[in-house]
Subunit: 438 residues, 2 copies
C-alpha cells in the first residue's frame, strides 16, 4: 500500500463530466489499496470569472478580500469531487487549505508556505477516506486569515502535503502527457522525457518549460518528493521526476546522445531537453561609470522595483571613456517598472541612456553533467551558427546553457538545437502542449 | 454610537451594481459613527446554481460536502461586499461563519447554533472596520466541519450575532418594505405594520407570513433582540419588531380597530395582521377506536415520520361504534411520508381508512390580547360566514386565531377578514411581496 498525493489542475475538472472522470481514476487507486490525498484546482475558468466579478466592484480589491473570493473556486471543485468519489462507493472528505493545515505567511496573493500540519488529512486516511484538499490556499500563521499561494500554488500545495505526509509519490495531473524535450508546438519531433532529476526539471522550469511551476519543483527537490507528471485524459506513463535524476534509468529516449566512448556511463552528459522563454525583455544601461559599486547600485534599484533579473552581461570598459555597458534580462512584465526606477536614478548612477527591448528570446539546453563536457556548448553554438542565428547573451549553470537570441529567431533556434542534440523522436507524437494555470 | 447588525438577502446583492448599492448604505452608517456588522447571503441565484452543479454529479450528495459546496456562495458575496465597502474609504473585513464564531451542532444542511463566540468580529469593530459575515453557515463543535443552518439561516446568523454582540438593533434587509397586515399580492389594501411584538411576529411567521423566518424570530424573542425589517431598495421605514410589542406605540395603523369604549387602552386588542398558508395538507384518520392511547400512538407515528403537525381536531365519538375520527394538518411536503407511515400501522392503530387532501388553506388572525376579547373570534366567524366561506377546523393561541378553509376560498377569506377588522389602508400601496430565500 502506497500513499499517493494527486494534483488535478483546472482543465482536468472543467465540468461535471470531467469531475466524474477524475473521480473514477481516484476510485481505481483506492480499489488497488492505496491511500490517496487529492489536491484540486478551481474548475476551468472559475478563477477568471471571480476576478472579473471583483473588477466589476473595484479596480483595486484588497488582497485579503481577493483571497477570500478566489478560494471559493477550489471550495466548489473539491466539494463536487468529494461527492463524485463518494458516489463510486469510496468515502471522500474535502478540506480547505486551512483545515488541511497549510500554514502560510500573511502575504495575500503570493503567500509562502511556512508549515504543513496535516493532522485532519492523516485522520481521514486512517478512517479509510480519500482526502480532497483545496489547492492554492492556506491560512496565515499570524492573522488567521485565508491566503492564496499565487502562481503554481496548487502544485506547491500538493508537493508540500506529499512532503508532510511522507508520500511515496506526488502525481501532478495536467492536460499534457508529461514533460517534453521541447515545446511540441514548436518542435513536432519533441518526445516525452520519461525520467528527469529535480535539478534538471528545475532548470527546465526556470528556462520556460511551463508544465510544472518552478516553485513546486524547488519544494519537491528540497524535501526529496518524487513527482510524476501525467495526463488526466489518458493512461500514458508521463514523466517521473526523482532525486539524483535519471542517470541509472535504462530506457531514456535521450540515450542516443550518450557518447559510446565514455568510460563511465553514469557520468555521460544526458540532454534532457530544450526549453524556451519568449516572455523576457532586455535592458542595457549604456555608458555607466566603470567604478566599484555602480553595478551593485544598479541592481539594488532593480531589486527594489520588484523584478527578478535573469542573465547579466557587463561589457569590457573602454579605457578612454572609463565607462561600460551593463545588459540584463528580466520578465517583460516588470519592464516598465524597472525602466522607470532606473530613469529616476539616472543622476545617481551616472549612466548615459537606457536601451530597452522585449524582442528577445531565451533558449536553454538542460542536462546533467554538461559542464564537464565542453563538447556540449560547442555543439550548441555550431547548431545556432549553421542556422544563421546570432547569440546576444550567454549564461550557464552546472546543468544548463542559456542563450539569448532575437525573438524572431527563437522558434527556429529551438528546432535546430533539438535536432543537433539528437532529441528528435522517430515518431513525432501529435501533442497539444498547454501551460498549467495554478 | 450604536452597534447595528444588518442582514442582506440574496436579492439585495444579486449583482455587482446591487453590491455597490448595499456598500453605500453600509458606508453611510459608518460615516454616521455606528459600528456595523453585516451578514450577507449568496448573490441572487448562486445557491440554486451550486445545487444544480451538485445534481450533475450525484442525486445523493453527502451532507458534509453539500455544505462545503453551498458555503462558497456566501464567501463570494461577502468578499465582494468587503471590497466595495473598502472602496468607499471605510475598512471592511469578511469572515466565514467559522471565523465569526458561529458554533453549531453537526447536522449538515440544518445545523442548529449552539454558541456564538464573535471574538474576531469584536476585534474588527474595535479596529474601526466593518465586519462582513457569511450568513447561513457555521462550524460543527464536534467535527470542526463546515455546516449550513438550513432555511432562514442567514436571518438566524444575523440575530445570533446581534445577541452575542449585544447589538442595539438587527436590521433585516429584504426586497419588500416590511411586514404587512396581509400578503399584498392578495390584499391590495394591505398596509405596512410599523411596530409589532416578537410574539405577534412569531405567530405571523408561523401562520405563513414569509418575510421573516420563524426560526430567526424565535431566536430574537428569546434573546430580546430588536429586529427591523426594511427594504434595501428604498429608505422606507419598514417594520420594527420589539419586546412586549407595540401596545404603547402611538402611530400603529391598526389603531382604527381600537374599540373606543375600552377603559384601558394598553389592554385593547390590536390586530397585527392576517396571515395565510396554502402549503398545508389535512389527514383524517377515520374510524379509530376511541380508547385511551390511540391518539398518542397515532401522533407518535406521525412524529417518527418527521412531520410537524399543526392543528388537530378529534370528533365526538359515536357511542354505537365506539370509534372516532382524528383530523390534523401538516406541511403538504410531508404528506406522502406520513400517509405511508400511518398505512403501515393500520392494523396496530385499528382505524378504518385515511382521508387526505392538500386542497386546504389556513387563515390566521394575529394580534395581542385577543383571547380576552371574545368579540374578535365572533367577528372573524361572522366575516367568513358573510363571505359564504365554510370553516373546517379552528385553533387558537393567546394572540392568534387560525381557521382552515377550502383552498379555493382562501384568497377571498383573507380579503374579507382584512376588511372586517378595519385593516384596509386608505391608500393601498403597490408592493411586490416576495419571500426570503435563506
Amino acid at each position: 500500500m502506497s500513499l499517493v498525493v494527486q494534483k488535478y489542475g483546472g482543465s482536468s475538472v472543467a465540468d461535471a463530466a470531467s469531475v466524474l472522470r477524475v473521480a473514477r481514476r481516484i476510485a481505481s487507486y483506492r480499489a488497488a489499496g492505496h491511500e490517496v490525498v487529492v489536491v484540486v484546482s478551481a474548475m476551468g475558468d472559475t478563477t477568471d470569472d471571480l476576478i472579473d466579478l471583483a473588477k466589476q466592484i473595484t479596480p483595486t480589491p484588497p488582497g485579503r478580500e481577493l483571497d477570500m473570493l478566489l478560494t471559493a473556486g477550489e471550495r466548489i471543485a473539491m466539494a463536487l469531487l468529494a461527492m463524485a468519489i463518494n458516489d463510486t462507493g469510496h468515502e471522500a472528505r474535502s478540506f480547505t487549505g486551512s483545515q488541511a493545515g497549510v500554514i502560510t505567511d500573511a502575504s495575500h496573493g503570493k503567500a509562502r508556505i511556512i508549515d504543513v500540519t496535516p493532522g485532519r488529512i492523516r485522520g481521514a486516511l486512517d478512517d479509510g477516506a480519500v482526502a480532497i484538499v483545496a489547492g492554492f490556499q492556506g491560512v496565515s500563521q499570524t492573522t488567521k486569515d485565508v491566503t492564496t499561494l499565487g502562481r503554481g500554488g496548487s502544485d506547491t500545495t500538493a508537493v508540500a502535503l506529499a512532503a508532510a505526509l511522507n508520500a511515496d509519490v506526488c502525481e501532478i495531473y495536467t492536460d499534457v502527457d508529461g514533460v517534453f524535450t521541447a515545446d511540441p508546438r514548436l518542435v513536432t519531433k519533441a518526445s516525452r522525457i520519461p525520467l528527469i532529476s529535480h535539478e534538471e526539471m528545475l532548470e527546465m522550469a526556470a528556462a520556460g518549460a511551463k508544465v510544472l511551476h518552478l516553485r513546486s519543483v524547488e519544494y519537491a527537490r528540497r524535501y526529496g518528493v518524487p513527482l510524476h507528471v501525467r495526463s488526466s485524459f489518458s493512461d500514458k506513463p508521463g514523466t517521473l521526476i526523482v532525486e539524483g535524476g535519471g542517470r541509472a534509468f535504462p530506457i531514456s529516449p535521450t540515450e542516443m546522445f550518450v557518447t559510446p566512448t565514455e568510460e563511465e556511463a553514469m557520468e555521460q552528459p544526458i540532454i534532457s531537453g530544450v526549453a524556451h522563454d519568449a516572455s523576457q525583455a532586455k535592458i542595457t544601461v549604456v555608458g555607466i561609470p566603470d567604478v566599484p559599486g555602480k553595478a551593485a547600485a544598479t541592481f539594488q534599484i532593480v531589486a527594489e522595483a520588484g523584478a527578478n533579473i535573469d542573465m547579466i552581461v557587463q561589457n569590457v570598459s573602454t579605457e578612454i571613456t572609463g565607462r561600460t555597458d551593463i545588459s540584463f534580462t528580466l520578465p517583460a512584465a516588470d519592464g516598465a517598472a524597472v525602466r522607470q526606477a532606473l530613469e529616476a536614478a539616472q543622476q545617481e548612477l551616472g549612466f548615459q541612456r537606457l536601451v530597452y527591448t522585449d524582442q528577445i528570446g531565451k533558449l536553454s539546453l538542460v542536462g546533467a553533467g554538461m559542464r564537464s563536457h565542453p563538447g556540449v556548448s560547442a555543439r550548441l553554438f555550431e547548431a545556432l551558427s549553421e542556422a544563421g542565428i546570432n547569440i546576444e547573451m550567454i549564461s550557464t549553470s552546472e546543468i544548463r546553457i542559456s542563450v539569448v537570441t532575437d525573438l524572431a529567431a527563437l522558434d527556429r533556434a529551438v528546432v535546430a538545437v533539438h535536432t543537433a542534440f539528437g532529441l528528435d523522436s522517430a515518431d513525432g507524437e501529435a501533442i497539444v502542449y498547454g501551460g498549467t494555470g495554478r
